[in-house]
Amino acid sequence: MFRNAFPLRAGRVHEVCGPGATAFAAVTCARARAGALIWIRESWQPEGLNPLGLVDFFDPARLVLANAPSAVDVLAVAEEALRDGAVSLVLLEVTRPLDLREGRRLQLAAQAGGTTGLCLIPEGMGSNAAESRWQVAPLLDQGPGRLDRAGDSTLMRWQLIKNKSGTLGAWDVRWNRKTYRLDVVSSVGQRPGSAGAPAGGPLRVDAHGGQ
């Protein structure tokens, strides 16, 4: 079931990779409890976040950016923020594979602070300590009614490729910019163990509702 996998389990560190990772992170931010969010990255990275793009998901004023000089500092800052628990969600962009020790330290820090962590990782560089790993790619939206919504297609395929406490699965989702909700369009239903599509219409996960 999609509901079991998303929203992400609190007090754990999750991973996301693939070309749609930023959108996944933005949806996660929108689902996080009110308050500040911390986004940590290495300062040399050229691809900047665009707050005007994030507006469609959540209020960019909540975002605090930490530009760390090195990969080690990214991890140190993330650990500090996860352990503190003052923010509900810590996002970090890592550029190299984390070893088990680093991944485990982040996991312990997240447990101590009750904070959710989300690592944006390059493809195939996951850590074994991660609670779950998602692979996200945008899809070309060819469904009916697509032409009505010129220029705001957000169809994505979310594949859960690692899950420590549940089954894997793949879902096609669309972010609704008007209502700030995530619509699950259909379950792909190819992998063993993935959830079937709900019978009556799209399943909706409310962005601001409880879990």
Partner: protein
């Protein structure tokens, strides 16, 4: 610069002899005296130096105020005998100042006005009760009068204070108003005038000297706790909060170590600040031991007392500030940033990233049209003509355009010379590819070319 021209601010004795005066324009002064050497005036530094001198002067008496931009006024009533008399006090003052390379012009008299007159026009001492006699030969300008009043009095032939004193008062008041005679009365002691000492600026530093050197981290933390408690009391009295703290640990070998703490928000809560020192103290080498600790708030900001209510009584904000401070001690407080909206159509300039510690979260994010989540420096792709290319290569991927939405024309801001916008106008397109990637392309019609600038999703 004064009254739209460069003027002389102050001059030395040689220049005065050459016929120059204060307030003269620089061009005139150069004409008088071609070899004139000038430096730009720095009134702020002068004032700071006068402040230092004022502090020094409190060694003679507690009532010291400043007078104009270059004077100090001391009320030495009841203090002169400590130095063996007025005469001795003055010579002591002169001698000490001379040792530091300063020349003082000192006047001492019964009243503030008379002392001013003596200091400016006939440095020296007027014995008690002899004020009138000492002032009589001085020019009327010695009475702290306006230049116009001085000129008026001189036109009447009243050049000296003695002559003014002998003149009937009523016609003078009619002619010059009460101020001229008020100054005379103040100098003669018929009208009181107080010396208002300046308040000592608050001193945000505390020190702890230890009988035995310490080296354990818990001991240093305990010492810091005691210093911090005292410092925070001062901060609370002044309704200020510390922004930057500096802890100096002096070791027994006379070397010292400094720990600097920059806070993400002005703070004066000792219990909150203390744990933030932990990280800085971790890396300190105590050597043979530390025997003196000094804590100074090197930067303070006003932090008015606030009423605790249901809205700000919670500690959510405080916890976040503490976290940002701790992150800031690791990566630098200016690297902890937040987005603020800016008023521009240029995608890269529609927001600013500023340090979170000195800004408030901004509101009013209104994108004119959907904007990509990621922006990067424009990457050229192969393409011709004003329509988006059917297929193109970007980052070693072959992409086929499935749908293109646009164009959205954005003109450069001509009032900035931005090298990125040298190619002129841009027509932005949202391209959905068959491969799934949704890209933000632009075409530059004035210098044909196609670029990728951002990615949706």
């Amino acid at each position: 610069m004064e009254a739209n021209s460069e003027r002389l601010y102050c001059l030395n004795r040689a220049a005065e002899k050459a016929g120059l005066s204060r307030g003269m324009s620089l061009a005139d002064a150069r004409a008088f005296c071609p070899g004139l050497m000038t430096d730009p005036a720095r009134p702020d530094r002068d004032a700071a130096f006068l402040g230092v001198l004022r502090r020094w002067a409190t060694r003679y008496c507690p009532w010291v105020g400043t007078d104009g931009r270059d004077g100090l006024i001391l009320d030495i009533s009841g203090a002169s005998h400590l130095f063996g008399g007025e005469e001795e006090m003055l010579s002591d003052m002169q001698a000490r100042a001379a040792r530091s390379g300063l020349t003082l012009r000192v006047g001492l008299a019964d009243t503030r006005g008379a002392a001013w007159a003596l200091a400016h026009h006939a440095p020296g001492l007027a014995a008690p009760g002899e004020t009138a006699a000492a002032l009589a030969p001085l020019p009327v300008a010695a009475l702290r009068l306006e230049p116009a009043e001085v000129a008026g009095l001189e036109r009447l032939g009243l050049r000296h204070v003695g002559e003014l004193e002998a003149t009937p008062r009523a016609p003078l008041t009619r002619r010059f108003g009460p101020s001229a005679l008020m100054r005379l009365d103040q100098a003669m002691g018929r009208q009181g005038e107080a010396v208002s000492p300046e308040a000592e600026p608050p001193h945000y530093a505390t020190r702890l000297t230890l009988p035995e050197p310490i080296g354990l981290q818990e001991d240093v933390m305990e010492g810091t706790r005691r210093l911090l408690a005292r410092l925070c009391e001062t901060l609370e009295r002044q309704e200020t909060g510390a922004r930057r703290l500096c802890l100096t640990l002096r070791r027994v070998d006379r070397d010292s170590r400094q720990v600097e703490l920059r806070l993400a928000a002005p703070m004066r809560d000792a219990a909150r600040i203390l744990p933030l020192f932990q990280r800085g103290l971790d890396g300190i080498d105590a050597g043979f031991g530390i025997d003196q600790m000094r804590l100074e708030a090197t930067q303070v900001e006003s932090l008015p007392a606030q009423q605790l209510g249901p809205r700000n009584g919670g500690n959510g904000n405080a916890r976040l500030e503490d976290l940002l401070t701790r992150i800031g001690t690791r990566i630098g407080l200016e690297n902890v940033q937040r987005f603020l909206p800016a008023d521009s159509h240029i995608p890269a300039r529609a927001f600013r990233t500023l340090p979170a510690a000195w800004t408030e979260p901004g509101q009013g994010w209104v994108p004119p049209r959907p904007r990509p989540l990621r922006l990067f420096a424009p990457e050229p792709i192969a393409g011709h003509g004003p329509r988006p290319p059917e297929r193109f290569r970007w980052r070693r991927m072959s992409l086929v355009t499935a749908r293109a939405t646009g164009p959205e024309r954005i003109a450069p801001e001509w009032w900035f010379d931005d090298p990125d916008w040298r190619r002129g106008l841009r027509d932005y397109w949202l391209i959905e590819t068959r491969q799934g990637r949704r890209l933000w392309l632009f075409h530059t019609p004035q210098a044909p070319g196609w670029f990728v600038e951002g990615e949706f999703a």
